[in-house]
Amino acid sequence: MGLVDKAIAWGGRNSPWIIHFNAGACNGCDIEVVDALTPRFDLERLGILQQGSPRHADVLVVTGAVTLQTRERLKEIYDQMSTPKFVVAVGTCACSGGIFDGCYCVTGGVDAVIPVDAYIPGCAVRPEAIIHAVDALLKAKLPKAAGRLKKDKKAKPDRKEDAAHDGAGNDQ
């Protein structure tokens, strides 16, 4: 790994910007995510900032079981994010569907729709668990991800998929 790659991987580890998506949660986990961003826990210590736009974010934090209503939107938001990107499933419902699994309007856990990098079980999860998960995720995954991006540049395998979704959100 060259110096530039190292610098980029170091930057990625120390500056995970998150975007929060509620896929059908009861709001319990959402409040814990917001709690993790408050002065008491102060996620900016770890360089974590909440972003409004998926294009700016590195980590998609999803709460709740994925309902039929949010399934397409969740996928669209995931596709709008630029690589390297990660997904954290926050709460038991996001991990597996929880008590809503098998419900007529529920697809299942987040991993039924998009690939998930970290699962945080709990009902509702504690803010400490969220912070620990995001931190551990970046430390474990990022060097690999930097290599993956480099390979992408050569082979460009996800070009087509990205092109299909690059205009997503512009049709309003």
């Binding site: 930057g11 990625g12 500056s15 102060d42 210590r45 360089g47 972003q51 736009s53 294009r55 512009n170």
Partner: protein, 312 residues
């Protein structure tokens, strides 16, 4: 000649501006966090953000104007860096100082704002266009008091070069007190130029997601952020040179004073950002046109009469 080029490229030119902009961003965010009773980011945070964004994939929306989209961050950063060359940093004189550079600096500083507007407009997204229109509307509101406030010390000093104005007031420090109202108007206009609270309606992340830069990603976003932070550095430097003319006569001591002055100005701007909520666009327009512009006009008229009365 070679020395001048080195000065422009390294110190106190572009390289120093980049490093100083990172430092200012850190101080801004850290002070903001401390004012909110938080710990705040570590010192390398702006650097980490920058490197991370460099490594991320750039997505250009299908509907966006591709060349405009890619060129805007560079144009914006270049304009800000050029403006910095005419602001005194090391010692009394700027690297490139000439009669009228104050106006050039002011116009160069409005290029990043126009780039921001074009960035939003060329992204073809609901949120970015909303942010772009707000950016432009806000620009029409603050630009007038900003220009008048920056020009009133020049009117009194009788010169339109920032170096000349600094030298004039350094010799007559008491006269600088006359410009106190203009100083506060300049600070407030700078706050709205940099789109920081209470004038952050154009990027309002809670209502229009982040304004004009919503579609930007990867290194383009990194350069847009960098140009915003460099703009902060240049604006505070210009205000320090025009309104805080304390000089010692030794270049290194003047440089230390420059750092103290700009950091103090930044802390004032951060304090303002931390203590107020966002105001609406119409409130912003009213404030700029009904309060700041008349005050700035009174200031410039007073300065004109003072210049005549003192027989300078």
């Amino acid at each position: 000649m070679l020395l001048d080029i080195l000065k422009i490229l390294l110190f106190p030119g572009f390289a120093f501006l980049a490093a100083y902009a990172f430092l200012l961003e850190y101080v801004d965010r850290k002070a903001y966090a401390r004012m909110q009773n938080r710990v705040g980011p570590p010192w390398y945070q702006p650097l980490a953000d920058f490197f991370k964004l460099l490594g991320k994939k750039v997505i250009i929306p299908r509907n966006a104007g591709k060349r405009t989209f890619a060129a805007l961050p560079v144009v914006s950063l270049a304009a800000v860096a050029t403006a910095y060359v005419s602001v005194p940093v090391w010692g009394r004189a700027a690297i490139v100082g000439y009669e009228g550079d104050l106006v050039v600096v002011l116009y160069l500083l409005s290029i990043p704002t126009i780039c921001l507007f074009l960035a939003g407009f060329s992204s073809h997204d609901v949120y970015t266009i909303m942010g772009a229109f707000r950016t432009l509307t806000q620009m029409f509101a603050y630009e007038v008091p900003l220009f008048i406030a920056f020009l009133s010390p020049a009117v009194l000093a009788g010169t339109w070069s920032i170096t000349g104005i600094l030298a004039f007031y350094a010799d007559r420090p008491l006269l600088a007190l006359v410009n106190l109202p203009a100083f506060f108007i300049a600070l407030l206009s700078a706050q709205s130029k940099l789109e920081r609270a209470p004038f952050d309606a154009p990027e309002a992340e809670t209502e229009i997601v982040g304004g004009a830069l919503v579609e930007y990603s990867g290194r383009y976003l990194a350069f847009m952020h960098a140009s915003a932070m460099c703009e902060l550095a240049v604006v505070t430097s210009a205000i320090a040179a025009l309104f805080l003319p304390v000089l010692t006569g030794f270049a290194a001591a003047d440089f230390a004073l420059y750092l103290i002055k700009t950091l103090a100005l930044l802390l004032l701007l951060t304090l303002l950002r931390a203590s107020v909520a966002r105001i609406r666009m119409d409130q912003m327009l009213n404030f700029c046109w009904m309060v700041m512009t008349p005050m700035a006009i009174i200031q410039i008229v007073v300065n004109l009469f003072l210049r005549g009365g003192l027989g300078l």
